[in-house]
Symmetry: C2
Subunit: 384 residues, 2 copies
């Protein structure tokens, strides 16, 4: 084991940073404001080929970041969030492809967001951070991709909010996207999904430590953010999976069930998810990013989903999960229908699973196989 | 219009109170403690007949109370929570039946609960209030029913937690229950249901004003209780109904959607539900009653649902709603199967509706018809 391999024997990965959009030029945001400077955190895996034709951009979901694969240090206990999908011989095969993943605008893992210091004031933006949309996130990724010298992406891939970014890439930059892998996503979130996002935001805003977003340097709104995560987590799992995982077992088997403080296992699990989350996520980022998800609406922006896809040039792989009730299969089918009306190439698969919305974040051989096969065919097409 | 009729021309209703279980006798609770005194708030509608054979007990759900029907004063803007089901010619026909509805133990609308004054200390119980179960609620109702001189109930009816009480009545007092109407209920809440209750409780507990349950006389945890109600409300509606009701409309149609403070209609609606709720409900009651729901488990208590129903003598009407995902139809079918294995008389109907769990609280002609027909047949049976 040398300095370039981790305890698992593979190369260590590194988060890099690219800063652009210095003011007064800045980046024009969807809301009309000009904003900058912007630093974007990103990682890459694999090697770009001589023609630059093997680059794939991976877009993360609400709570993700740039660290999608590998280990950052020799004693890093966990790999990146999509590690089982990215690597030699994996769905995103790093022996073939050059993979890029960056943290979204508004995030809290290295890319400029509400917790970043506002250079004009010397203190974190908080709620002075501008409202950002999925298109703004995509535009930041565009500048990163061009900075890396890439003119066309073999694929843009992502699940959930990552899928929204992938769809938006194909619409906003049709010439730069050969293919799209859109997983467990939608052309707009349902009213129920907005409702769940809103109760999560209220949990943060209600926290005594939130202080209208100015909590940096003091105690952050951990209880509120933890509760928001707990609420979200219920929606990421299916009812059936929760049932199979927890039934109605008590955390302490001796519990007789006549004590208001005793806990069911499902409660301990959610509390654990909440507590883990506050160590790595910023409450204001949670507010901004969930709002970006709520406002994503291809139908509203283009008149119809069909109109939205009129000018895309990419081929599509669309995947949904049978037990996903946050981004149900019916929503994926709306995307697929709109693409087909436009005569676009689209492969659609609804994967039978009880893992709910989170099915794309856990080991999922049918999903991995679908991605792998789709990418190989797309890569062959452009290589001939 | 005289003093006995309201603006709608019907008689005014009145909430009455019955106090029993004075200490040291008290009432033996499920957790082994003896508790008292207990005051129970109740209302009655219609008249008891000469043989006392037309009495029906209605059990309310989480946020209900004793005021199920009619108006309490001449300027009362709203009738009781199940008014469209109770009255002359309605499903619970007050020309035929004598209807009783009482507020549950642990509640906050006249029956002893955490907001009641502890006679030993002179201050409200708060978290010193004992842990209560569905059986304890039923036992309090038993004492009320006997106090009213009723030896046998024509029916015990309820939806959601009210249905749990109805099932428990048939099991605990088989000789006293001729029939049960169990609507949108379950022999135990799902792990997902427990999870939703828990995030609601956390919203209250996280509120700076909760103060470990001792907030009486100072500012109550309104923000937390409101958020708990918002979370609950999402689970009471179906995704489809939310979609049809709100689509993705903004509260203010001028909203362009690039402002973190703008609201979707669905958010305003939930906020409104939350704010309305804190005016009429106690946060500690919310904690206690949701816990009672979580711990209700016929399978755990009796070894199996089949065993639970072994000795019941009642006939059953079991109703579920196709779009109810909190108490799904599959759970109702488990009850029906267990009753049929025991050779009990049971009518089951799954009503096609997009109104979700709340379908029993809104006008629902198929439900009203089912209740009406079932009660008429049951009343005929015992009248011959």
């Amino acid at each position: 084991m040398d300095n370039f391999t981790d305890k698992h024997g593979s190369e260590l990965t590194e988060t890099r940073y690219f800063t652009f959009a210095e003011m007064p030029e800045g980046l024009k945001l969807r809301n009309g404001n000009t904003f900058g400077p912007i630093t974007v955190a990103y990682e890459t895996y694999g090697k770009i080929n001589s023609t630059g034709s093997n680059a794939i951009l991976i877009c993360h979901a609400l709570s993700g970041n740039a660290h999608a694969a590998g280990y950052l240090s020799h004693d890093d206990p966990f790999p990146g969030w999509w590690d089982s999908y990215i690597g030699p011989g994996r769905a995103f095969d790093t022996d073939r492809y050059f993979i890029i993943c960056s943290n979204v605008l508004g995030g809290c893992d290295g890319t400029t967001g509400p917790s970043s210091v506002n250079p004009d004031t010397g203190v974190p933006y908080g709620l002075d951070f501008p409202f950002v949309t999925i298109l703004d996130m995509v535009n930041v990724q565009y500048h990163l991709v061009r900075h890396l010298g890439i003119e066309k992406l073999l694929a843009v891939a992502g699940g959930s909010m990552g899928g929204m970014q992938a769809l938006k890439w194909a619409i906003a930059y049709p010439d730069m996207v050969s293919s799209v892998i859109a997983i467990a996503t939608s052309a707009s979130l349902s009213a129920q999904g907005i409702a769940f996002n809103e109760v999560g935001r209220q949990a943060i805003i209600n926290d005594r430590n939130w202080n209208r977003g100015q909590y940096y340097g003091s105690w952050p709104p951990d209880a509120g953010l933890s509760l928001a995560r707990m609420i979200g987590h219920i929606t990421y799992l299916s009812e059936q999976h929760m049932h199979e995982k927890f039934v109605r077992r008590f955390q302490n088997p001796q519990t007789q069930g006549f004590d208001i403080k005793s806990e069911f296992e499902v409660e301990s699990y959610l509390h654990h998810q909440g507590v883990k989350f506050v160590d790595r996520f910023d409450a204001n980022s949670y507010l901004y990013i969930t709002r970006a998800i709520d406002y994503f609406d291809l139908k509203k922006d283009y008149g119809s989903i069909i109109n939205a896809f009129e000018n895309v040039l990419a081929n599509f792989l669309v995947v949904s999960f049978s037990s996903d009730w946050l981004y149900p299969s019916s929503r994926a089918k709306d995307i697929v229908s709109a693409l087909r009306v436009n005569g676009k190439n689209v492969i659609y698969t609804d994967i039978e699973t009880d893992k709910g919305h989170d099915a794309f974040l856990v080991k999922n051989p049918p999903l991995e196989k679908n991605i792998s096969n789709f990418l190989m065919r797309e890569f062959e097409k452009i290589s001939v």
